[in-house]
């Protein structure tokens, strides 16, 4: 008989309770360990800066960063710079996801197209995208467009290759089933390839969001007057290391936020599946 789910929860044995207690204790220990490491690092950094073991002009300090962050929040520059970087990253990410899905689908659908394009995709993926940035500035000028395209260029080729490879690895017998039931290649795509690739698409999105952020920051280094990438490059030029490190910390927070968002989408999908 099949596994039938019961509505009444079975009583939890004492051994199971002990196991759960030990599991939670372990989980708390790990979380405490992580915070302890962060506090030790920040404490050591602050002390080293105050005791002049390190030059706070070059290495900044946690208090200096908090002070600068407060200043950014007061004058509103935090929202301007973070907002523009967020907008450019989300725009690149959405475009990368749509472009790579459409391209991988076309490549799977048309075998000869994938054979023709394969070497070009491999070369474009291997090419260091920062090399394209000066070209993009000449073609598109300095502004959000250039930065969004830079963000796309970093992630899109790898994403197309990984999605296409994933589509090709779907069990051919599942497609055969569609053909035996009277379906076409288009049906195999809609009923088998795309639905079975949802976990792959989500994991590729996880990679894409990080790469889009990398591309956007590269773009802002070279072609922006606003954004966190601009603040980092400007701060380093005028030796305002508080500005540089604060921007880097905001970037870390943004990267973590994006990662968590996609992770929750993944959890939602798993729960639904």
């Amino acid at each position: 008989m099949g596994k039938q789910r019961s509505n009444t929860q079975p009583p939890v044995s004492e051994r199971q309770q002990n196991f759960l207690r030990a599991h939670h204790r372990h989980h708390h220990r790990i979380t405490c360990g992580r915070f302890l490491l962060l506090f030790c690092f920040l404490g050591f950094w602050e002390t080293a800066s105050r005791m002049a073991w390190i030059d706070s002009f070059f290495f900044s300090s946690p208090s200096g960063i908090i002070q600068y962050l407060g200043q950014m929040l007061t004058d509103g520059s935090f929202f301007t710079h973070t907002g523009i970087t967020l907008f450019e990253t989300i725009a690149s990410f959405v475009l990368v996801t749509v472009l790579s899905l459409v391209s991988a689908t076309l490549l799977w659908y048309q075998n000869s197209l994938s054979e023709i394009l394969e070497p070009y995709l491999v070369v474009l993926n291997a090419l260091p995208k920062s090399a394209l940035a000066p070209l993009l500035i000449v073609w598109l000028g300095t502004g959000a467009n250039t930065i969004i395209v830079a963000g796309i260029s970093v992630a899109v080729f790898g994403s197309i290759i990984s999605l296409y490879t994933g589509f090709c690895q779907v069990d051919p017998e599942m497609c055969k089933l569609i053909y035996t039931l009277g379906g076409s290649r288009k049906d195999a795509l809609a009923k088998v390839i795309l639905p079975s690739s949802v976990p792959l698409i989500l994991s590729s999105m996880k990679v894409n969001i990080g790469l889009s952020l990398v591309g956007v920051i590269i773009g802002e280094f070279l072609a922006a007057r606003r954004g966190l990438g601009y603040l980092i490059i400007y701060g380093s030029q005028v030796f305002q290391l508080n500005m540089v490190i604060t921007s880097i910390i905001i970037l870390c927070a943004i990267a973590m936020l994006f990662y968590k968002l996609i992770q929750s989408a993944e959890h939602y999908y798993r729960k639904k599946a």
Partner: protein, 262 residues
């Protein structure tokens, strides 16, 4: 009885850059209406290729396949002559409920009418799966999954059933009863069925006629009609009859070319 499916001198080879691999060589066989025919042969002899050719997924390189007097190109295009194909694994899609899996064939052929969905609900009821229709396939046992795969195949109301080792993924005990169960269901519906298997015991227990294929490239080595005096409902009872032993020994000799050791 008049044959509804006949293969005349059918040959097929696979091609790649390393060369040509002949899979089937001059296959001649006939299947009469309402019969349950099993095809046995050594692993990799081209049994699955044979079903792909009959179902029209592959075109024959040589020879002719006639189904109800039509060539494979014509009968594949004829919507009244549907061929049901059960694969080695059930391939129930985990992203669909059991019911959504069963209506897949109707969706693909744009035949999702009330009459057809009612037919699926009736089959679910008949095969004891009605209460599982809204579950995910992973919540079904191996035997239930095979029954679900059979309903998915039957839902398109096939004229001919092709069974490509559909029980090979099951453990021995489950396989013994599920195979007999499914064969009985097919027999009751009066459908013509062609079962591919590498399990000689299964072939002799389930089929009315057994066709033995040679090693690759496969050709028909022997055909044998199977008849029992008792009902086929109980696979264990069949396997303990003298007739079963006799059929088994005869076919074993054909399969192994008279060699007693491997």
């Amino acid at each position: 009885m008049q044959p509804i499916l006949s293969l005349r001198d059918v040959s097929y080879s696979y091609h790649n850059l390393k060369g040509e691999t002949p899979a089937l060589s001059h296959i001649n066989l006939q299947v009469s209406e309402g019969s349950f025919v099993a095809v046995v042969g050594p692993s990799g002899c081209g049994k699955s290729t044979l079903l792909s050719l009959i179902s029209g997924l592959l075109p024959p390189e040589d020879g002719e396949i006639l189904y109800r007097g039509l060539s494979s190109r014509d009968y594949c295009a004829d919507s009244a002559l549907k061929i049901g194909y059960m694969l080695q694994r059930d391939h129930l899609f985990e992203w669909r409920t059991v019911y959504q899996n069963l209506i897949l064939g109707l969706e693909l052929t744009h035949n999702l009418t009330k009459e057809n969905t009612d037919y699926i609900l009736k089959l679910l009821n008949d095969y004891g799966l009605y209460s599982f229709k809204d579950k995910k396939p992973s919540e079904l046992s191996g035997g239930m999954r095979q029954r679900a795969a059979l309903i998915r195949t039957m839902a398109i109301r096939p004229d001919l059933l092709l069974l490509d080792e559909p029980f090979s993924a099951l453990d021995f005990q489950t396989r013994l009863f599920v195979s007999a169960d499914i064969a009985n269901i097919i027999r009751k519906t009066g459908k013509t069925a062609l079962l591919i298997t590498h399990d000689l015991s299964e072939a002799i227990t389930l089929a009315d006629r057994v066709i033995v294929l040679s090693k690759r490239p496969a050709s028909v080595k022997r055909e044998m009609s199977i008849l029992y005096e008792i009902s086929r409902e109980d696979p264990l009872a069949i396997r303990s009859t003298a007739a079963y032993q006799e059929y088994f020994n005869q076919l074993w000799e054909v399969l192994t070319d008279g060699k007693t050791t491997v």
